[in-house]
């Protein structure tokens, strides 16, 4: 404290708690060298918070601590926190932690005359000095109010105690039971501890309890004002959000194929962005899980790790069912590339679930995570609670550059209703949204798929038929025509009909062509005949002309001869006459 004061006077120095999330919302920890009041109802985790603060301080930040408890004894507490993995006996042996159980039995005590609580100070001072403690926890100091009749003395002494802790530079947590009504604590401890007040709360909704933490005040520093869900797991206390409060995750230009080539085509030809979140929604039986499973399998085929959270089916059931559409999970599970976690989300609180998922993701480090379905989370909780929880999960996955596929069951699902409406809450968190629908027509239900949105890439506006078979998943163009969309056997029938019609039409054409050809041939023949005729006529005309010319010539010659003969003799005349 002595040097702390001079060194760190300008900025309020903070003592990190080492508790996940708490240091983030407090901007670094609890006020160093000052007491912090942690209050809440019974069983909401005050002791756990205080204990973790102390243990982490002793083990991670080199600040030994004193835990002075007024309700449980040391053995009970040691046993209780062992479930969090804290070995208090060992820490005590290493002189990192001192546990001191202060107990007053009212029935044993008679009060007469003046007194003070110097004994408590002496004990605390002794404990602090024995290990050079920097942190102190007084776990429900209010228990003293039951043991000591003279509350005026007690209050004065508590005030002196908190002052004394401050003077000694102890970063302290004082726990207090929540009072009735609006009272923060039952005995008004907040009056004495004014630097930082944290309120813990446990509430039950829909038979599932969640715990919340709120920083009521933190003098001299900015802090998160909201209520943050927290939980106590095997790794200790964690306050959500675990992720950062800002949207500042890196983005990747890398694309991840979905494993369904034609779906990739619809998504700009390459699939979704790495680290993005994909929502696959649809009513039951539209093939949501299959899309998710295919995605996961494809990741494994690329040699990447994948996690599959199944909230509807057991692991064995998934493996069996996916085999029917040609997706084989066993080899990847055996290779260690795939982990399937099946559970019912109703088993635990939502936050508990989230932290469980975080743990698994951290441990396994996958590149693809599938959650099938998130709507099972909504079933058990109010939508209003699911959204922030999902947001945290998505943020977390984004930060880790993990591509996530969430399936979601919608209420409607026929083309009649608008199933997307039931998803408005979560869809805004998603980067890509695939909508699967059932189309019922001519006594069949068929699946269709379309890309409702896909941020940052060109994507198809088309509806495709979505076919699940033992060969796997395929997308087929639907039949569009006559103002309707046909799928399934109606599409096949329509296509067959089309084919028949076109065959018929083709034959007709050929017949017509043939007719035309023969007609042409006939005409050509006619033309040839006419041409021959013309040639013949021409020849005839030429002949006649030649004949006439010859005749004329001959006549000329005869005339000449006659003239010659008339001119010289008359004999020639007789001759000419004979010739004619």
């Amino acid at each position: 404290m002595r040097k702390n004061l001079s060194e760190k006077f300008p900025i309020l120095s903070k003592a990190p708690t080492g508790i996940e999330g708490l240091d983030q919302i407090t901007g670094g920890g609890l006020p160093a060298g000052r007491p912090t009041l942690v209050c809440g109802t019974a069983g909401c985790g005050k002791t756990m918070l205080a204990m973790e603060f102390l243990v982490r301080g002793a083990t991670q930040f080199g600040e030994p601590g004193v835990f002075m408890m007024f309700e449980e004894n040391a053995a009970e507490l040691t046993a209780n926190v062992r479930s969090l993995g804290f070995d208090l006996d060992k820490l005590a042996a290493q002189k990192k932690i001192v546990l001191d159980y202060v107990h007053i039995e009212r029935s044993e005590i008679e009060e007469t005359g003046e007194y003070d609580l110097e004994g408590l100070f002496i004990r605390l001072a002794h404990a602090i000095d024995s290990i050079g403690a920097k942190r102190v926890v007084l776990d429900t100091v209010e228990a003293l109010f039951a043991g000591i009749q003279n509350h005026a003395v007690l209050r004065a002494e508590l005030r002196r105690l908190f002052r004394w802790l401050k003077d000694r530079g102890m970063t302290a947590i004082i726990t207090g039971e929540k009072g009735e009504g609006n009272a923060i604590t039952r005995y008004g401890l907040e009056e004495y501890v004014a630097d930082c007040v944290i309120i813990l709360d446990q509430r039950i909704q829909e038979q599932i309890s969640t715990r919340r933490l709120r920083i009521l005040k933190y003098r001299g520093t900015a802090h998160g004002m909201n209520e943050y869900p927290f939980l106590i797991s095997a790794r200790g206390f964690s306050v959500l959000p675990i992720t950062s409060l800002q949207l500042d995750h890196k983005v990747s230009m890398q694309r991840v194929p979905t494993g369904i080539p034609r779906l990739d085509d619809m998504l700009g030809g390459q699939g979704v962005f790495r680290g993005s979140s994909v929502l696959v929604s649809g009513s039951s039986g539209t093939g949501k899980s299959s899309v998710a499973a295919k995605f996961v399998e494809t990741a494994c085929q690329r040699g990447e790790r994948a996690l599959f959270f199944a909230y509807e089916e057991s692991t064995a059931q998934i493996v069996r069912n996916m085999r029917s559409i040609g997706i084989k999970f066993e080899p990847w599970v055996k290779k260690g590339l795939l982990e399937i976690h099946s559970s019912r989300p109703t088993l635990q609180g939502l936050e508990q679930h989230l932290v469980m998922m975080h743990d698994v993701v951290r441990a396994f480090r996958p590149s693809v995570v599938a959650v099938d379905p998130i709507s099972n989370l909504t079933m058990a909780y109010e939508d209003a609670e699911v959204k922030p929880t999902l947001m945290r999960l998505i943020d977390f996955l984004k930060k880790e550059q993990i591509t996530a596929v969430f399936t979601s069951l919608t209420d409607g699902g026929d083309s009649m209703s608008a199933p997307e409406d039931s998803q408005l809450g979560v869809s805004s968190l998603m980067d890509t949204w695939l909508l699967l629908r059932n189309v019922e027509f001519t006594g069949e239900r068929n699946r269709t798929i379309f890309v409702r949105k896909s941020r940052g890439m060109s994507h198809s506006n088309q509806v495709r038929e979505f076919i699940l078979s033992d060969k796997g998943i395929d997308l087929v163009d639907v039949y569009l025509g006559d103002d309707r969309v046909l799928t399934g056997s109606a599409r096949v029938a329509q296509e067959a009909q089309e084919r028949a019609v076109s065959t018929l039409r083709g034959q007709d054409h050929q017949r017509k062509l043939r007719q035309l050809a023969s007609k042409r041939k006939a005409i050509e023949a006619q033309i040839a005949a006419l041409q021959a005729e013309a040639v013949a006529e021409t020849e005839e005309v030429h002949f006649a002309i030649a004949q006439e010319t010859l005749q004329e010539k001959t006549t000329h010659q005869n005339t000449d001869a006659m003239a010659q003969q008339r001119g010289s003799s008359t004999r020639t005349n007789g001759g000419a006459h004979e010739k004619q």
């Binding site: 001191d100 007053i104 003046e114 007194y115 003070d116 002496i122 003293l144």
Partner: protein, 111 residues
């Protein structure tokens, strides 16, 4: 005040006095001194020869505070006869001290 020790054992009738009392104090404050004076007076009046008093100064031996679960100063602990009784305060109210020690105000005492 004297150092912690067997301060008063006037009665030599028995090796172990029936009443073993321990007075926890923190330094020689007026309250501590008053408590000790009051205690001695009451014991002499009501328990002559049957008691011994240990005075423990916690400023010198702080580690002893936990054993008897001492918070308030001064605290008088009746270690014997059982059950353990505690009286906190400067013992100025004789009647309450006697109640605390399970002694009848009517001078009954042990024979």
């Amino acid at each position: 005040m004297r150092a912690p020790e067997l301060s008063t054992t006037p009665g030599k009738a028995s090796a172990l006095p029936a009443f073993q009392l321990r007075l926890y104090v923190a330094g020689q404050t007026t309250r501590s001194l008053a408590a000790f004076a009051n205690l001695q007076r009451i014991c002499e009046t009501h328990l002559a020869g049957q008691y011994c008093i240990d005075v423990i100064d916690l400023t010198k031996t702080p580690q002893l505070a936990a054993g008897d679960q001492i918070l308030a100063i001064p605290t008088l602990v009746r270690r014997l006869p059982e059950p353990i009784k505690k009286i906190i305060g400067d013992l100025s109210n004789e009647e309450r001290v006697l109640v605390g020690l399970d002694l009848q105000p009517a001078k009954a005492g042990a024979s």
